[in-house]
Symmetry: C2
Amino acid sequence: MEKFYKEITPDGFGIAIREKEVLFSDNSPYQKVEIIDSESKLGKILTLDDLMMTTEGDEFFYHEMITHIPMMNHKEPKTVLVIGGGDGGTVREVLKHDTVEKVVLCEIDGMVIEVCKKYLPTIACQLDNPKCEILVEDAIEYIKDKKDMFDIVLIDSTDPIGPGEGLFTEEFYTNVKNSMKKGGILAVQSESPIAQSENVTKMYKLLRKVFPICKAYSSNIPTYPGGYWTWAYCSVDVEPLSYIDERRCEEITKTCKVYNKEYHLARFALPNYIKNLVG
Amino acid sequence: MEKFYKEITPDGFGIAIREKEVLFSDNSPYQKVEIIDSESKLGKILTLDDLMMTTEGDEFFYHEMITHIPMMNHKEPKTVLVIGGGDGGTVREVLKHDTVEKVVLCEIDGMVIEVCKKYLPTIACQLDNPKCEILVEDAIEYIKDKKDMFDIVLIDSTDPIGPGEGLFTEEFYTNVKNSMKKGGILAVQSESPIAQSENVTKMYKLLRKVFPICKAYSSNIPTYPGGYWTWAYCSVDVEPLSYIDERRCEEITKTCKVYNKEYHLARFALPNYIKNLVG
C-alpha cells in the first residue's frame, strides 16, 4: 500500500507526497527534526514539528523570493543577517551577490544545520563559505544590543508557534530595525494568505508599528499551503522598487529558476484578497 | 478514520482534502462525473474522470483569470464563446461585462451542466441568464463553419486527455481563429507549469502556428497541481496590455476576489522556468 506524507491545514486541505522513507528523525531541544525521502519530483523534505520547511525540488521558489527582492533593491549590500534559515538556502542566494562581505546566520537549532548539511547538500552548499558566520543561538537575544550593523536582514523563520513564536513581536521587530544601517531593508516571511490568513493580518499590523515602509509581496510556492506565500518588505527609508541593481540583477537571473527583473517588478501587485489581509 | 480525497500527479505529489461524502456519481457518455462534499474551506468539489475541476472555495482564482484578462483588453466585447466550462463560472464572470449581448456556452456534456446547477449554484448561477445560450454539443464540430462571429473566445477545457483531447490541435485552433471577429481575443487554459509541464510547451508550439500573437500569463490556483496555472492569450491583431477598459475594470474589480488592474498588468511577467516552457 502506498504511503503518503500529508500536511493538512486547519482549513481542511493541504499537500500529499508519495513517501519513500524517513531518513532522519530526532528531537532537538527545540523541536522534532525529520528528513523524509519522497517518491516524487520533490526529492528529500525537511520537516520541523511535522510541518514541511523545504524540499529539494521546490526550495528555490521560496529562497529566491525572500532574498533577491530586498537585495536587488539595495545599492551595495555588504552585511546581511539571516534569522532562522538553518537549511542554508537563503545564505546560498545571499552569496550570489558579490557585494556581500559577510552573512551572519543566526539559527537557534544546531541540529537543523547539521542535518541539512548531511541530507540536503544542494540547499546547504554555502554554509561552509568563509563569508558565512554561523551562530547557533536565539535571535531574540542576539539582536537585542546590535546597532547599525546590517544592510539587509532576512527573517526566514518557522510559523508563529513553537520556537519561532518570539520572532513575531513588536519588541523583536524594533530590535531588528535598530540593528539595520541607514538604507537597510528587511524581508520577513509573512505566512500563507490562504491558510490561517488571520496570522498575515496580525503580522502586518505589528510590522507597521515599527517600520514606516512595510509592503507585502507574494509568489507561488508549490508545497506551501494554498500554493502561495507572502513576504513583508520593510524599511525606514527605502521604498520597494525605488532601485533595482541592473548589473547584479542580470548576472543572478542567469542562476535562478524563478527570479528575473520583470517578475521582481510584478511582485508587489497583489490580488484583492491579499490587499484586504495586509491593509 | 479520516477520509481524504487525493489527487496525485505523475510527479508524485498533489492535493489532499478532508472528504465528507460523495453527493453525486455517474458516468455520462463522455466521462465520470462526481460531486464530492468536503470537510474543508473548499466546500463542494466537481471532479471529471477523477480530476478536480473546480471547488466552491477557490473557483474564483481560475474563473476571474481566464475571463477578465482577455475581456478587459477588448474595447467592446459583445459576443463571447465559452468552450467547455459547463460549471458556469466563466459565464458568470463574462456576464459581469455590461457590453456583452450574448455568451454562447458550448459544452459537450449536459450532465456537467445539470449537476453544477443543482450542487454548485454559486458557480452556475448565471447559466439561466437570457444572454446565455447553452449548446450541449461538441465544440470541435460546432466551430468548423463559424466565421467572424465572436469578440472573445475562452477555452475552459479539461486536460488534453479524454473528451478534451481534440481541443488541443492545430485544426481546432485554426477554426477558433476563423470564428473570431477583427480585434478578437482568445484565452485558453494552458495547464500547470509544474506538473506535466511538457504539455505546456506542446500547446504553445501549436498555438503559435495559428496565432501571430500568443503570450502566456499565470496566476495562483490553490487546488490545481503545484498551486499555479497558465493561460495563453492569443490574437491576430491585439497585443496583451495594449488596452485595459478603465470603466469596466473599476466596476468589476469591486466584485472580484483576485482581479484588479495592477494584478492584471503584472500577469505577463513570468518566472524563468515558465519562460523556458512557453518559449
